[in-house]
């Protein structure tokens, strides 16, 4: 495996996006009318950045279609939780179904978009987000493989590097895969990257970041869009 540690640039004249900014950036690209499943973690934050008058219908794999925001503390419905087991609300027009019907929506390609967190995304679209080693003790997959393989589009929302600066945007995933070739787009705290047949294409970058600086922090080769 290649050494994917990247040295920080000397002149860091930019500010990486916060988690909120990352979620807001991804939210911009979701049009009205899409059925969207937001994975646990940062992806969940996306819903806060879709204005209520832009109707995007949120799906939660535990059988909710048309999920609303988190429940206010004084109005919790004990039987109404999302896939992350947080108390949520239901929008007008929302509905409930059982797990097999809920995953039929996913596996059958009816969910327009799924946004997941990630450990690594490779330039061929492979995603690793559930286990960090083949010998992981009891790795927990949940619905990630179903969502990654089944949704019409898969986006990944994650930090660009690990805490020690190792690139999560890689030539080939070293961790066990969640799905093969499924990722279409990655939103990181440094950039928005499309995955094309010839690899990662930079759509935009954090303000002040140069292509060279971004590439220096990235294992996989990048090219600019257009």
């Amino acid at each position: 495996m290649a050494d994917t540690t990247v040295a920080p640039s000397k002149a860091e004249d930019f500010k990486p996006l916060s988690r909120t900014q990352m979620a807001a950036r991804a939210a911009q690209d979701i049009p009205e009318g899409w059925y969207v499943n937001l994975g646990i973690g940062i992806p969940t934050l996306i819903s806060d950045h879709v204005p209520m008058d832009r109707e995007v219908i949120l799906h939660s794999e535990n059988g909710i279609l048309g999920m609303g925001p988190l429940a206010p503390k004084d109005a919790i419905e004990p039987w109404l939780v999302n896939a992350g087991k947080q108390y949520v609300t239901l929008r007008k027009g929302g509905s409930y179904c059982h797990h097999a019907d809920s995953f039929a929506m996913i596996r059958g390609g009816h969910i327009d978009l799924c946004v997941l967190g990630g450990f690594q995304v490779a330039e061929n679209g492979d995603l690793a987000n559930w286990a960090t080693s083949e010998n992981d003790t009891a790795p927990a997959v949940g619905g990630a493989m179903d969502l990654a393989a089944g949704a019409k589009r898969l986006w990944v929302l994650m930090e660009h590097t690990t805490k020690d600066g190792t690139s999560k945007i890689v030539r080939r995933c070293s961790y066990p895969l969640t799905a093969v070739g499924a990722t279409r787009r990655v939103y990181t705290n440094l950039a928005t990257l499309d995955i094309s047949p010839s690899g990662f294409v930079v759509v935009d970058m954090a303000p002040g970041l140069t292509f060279e600086n971004l590439q220096a922090r990235t294992d996989a080769p990048l090219r600019m869009a257009g």
Binding site: Y35, H59, K92, G93, G108, I111
Partner: protein, 227 residues
């Protein structure tokens, strides 16, 4: 604002291509989207594969579509009916292909399509003519045949209530093939007796969630026998 409700039959049927596979719901006259079938006759698409439980009655609806030479093949469980004259004439003349599928297998092949399952195994039809040419396989000492998903380019559905998100309910045994065809159709078009406000259908009691529905036309047509 999402609004799947369309204002005319022409708008409902727009864009159906020649060569499409069209799923037509209903069990006999009950739960059958008569106005949409008429709309399809009007719309003009040809060389269709029709998937329905029955092969049409008399000279109306699906029978009329076949009589006009617009159906290349029909996939159904029960081509006989009280008056199957059009189908039988075309079939004897070799002008229409027929694929007979056991009713439960027909339902599950569409359910599988809607659920992203390309193929499954069933004990239905094992050892019969309808298993010929199909892959056979044993699981736990019992024989099964492999059946493949049937996807629709278009699904025509009749509902009792619909809202602007496309959430549907069905009345009594009018449900039948409607929910599974809605799931299996790439373009799912619904005629509904009633249009209701978003939220009027109890969230626990939505029979078909709007994710499976593309267009809804309001057709308050009375009852199936009166059509």
């Amino acid at each position: 604002m999402i609004n799947k409700i369309v204002q005319s039959i022409a708008e409902a049927m727009a864009g159906i291509q020649d060569g499409s596979t069209v799923l037509i719901a209903g069990f006999g006259a009950v739960g059958q989207p008569n106005a949409l079938i008429e709309g399809l006759i009007e719309q003009g698409a040809r060389d269709l594969v029709a998937v329905a439980n029955n092969a049409g009655v008399g000279h109306e609806g699906l029978a009329r579509l076949m009589e006009l030479g617009r159906v290349r093949k029909i996939i159904c469980s029960f081509p006989r009916s009280s008056d199957p004259v059009v189908f039988e004439g075309l079939y004897r003349a070799g002008k229409i292909e027929l694929e007979i599928v056991p009713q439960g297998t027909l339902a599950e092949r569409m359910h599988a399509a809607g659920a992203g399952i390309p193929a499954f195994f069933t004990a239905t039809a094992v050892g019969t003519l309808l298993a010929q040419g199909k892959e056979a396989r044993e699981f736990d000492g019992k024989q099964y045949v492999m059946e493949k998903a049937i996807h629709g380019d278009v699904a025509l559905v009749e509902a009792w209530e619909a809202d602007r998100w496309g959430n549907l309910t069905y009345k009594q045994s009018g449900r039948n093939f409607n929910p599974i065809m809605a799931m299996a159709g790439k373009l799912t078009i619904v005629q509904s007796q009633h249009i209701v406000e978003l939220g009027d259908i109890e969230p626990e009691n939505v029979h078909t969630p709007g994710i499976f529905v593309d267009r809804v036309l309001h057709v308050p047509y009375g009852d199936p026998s009166g059509f």
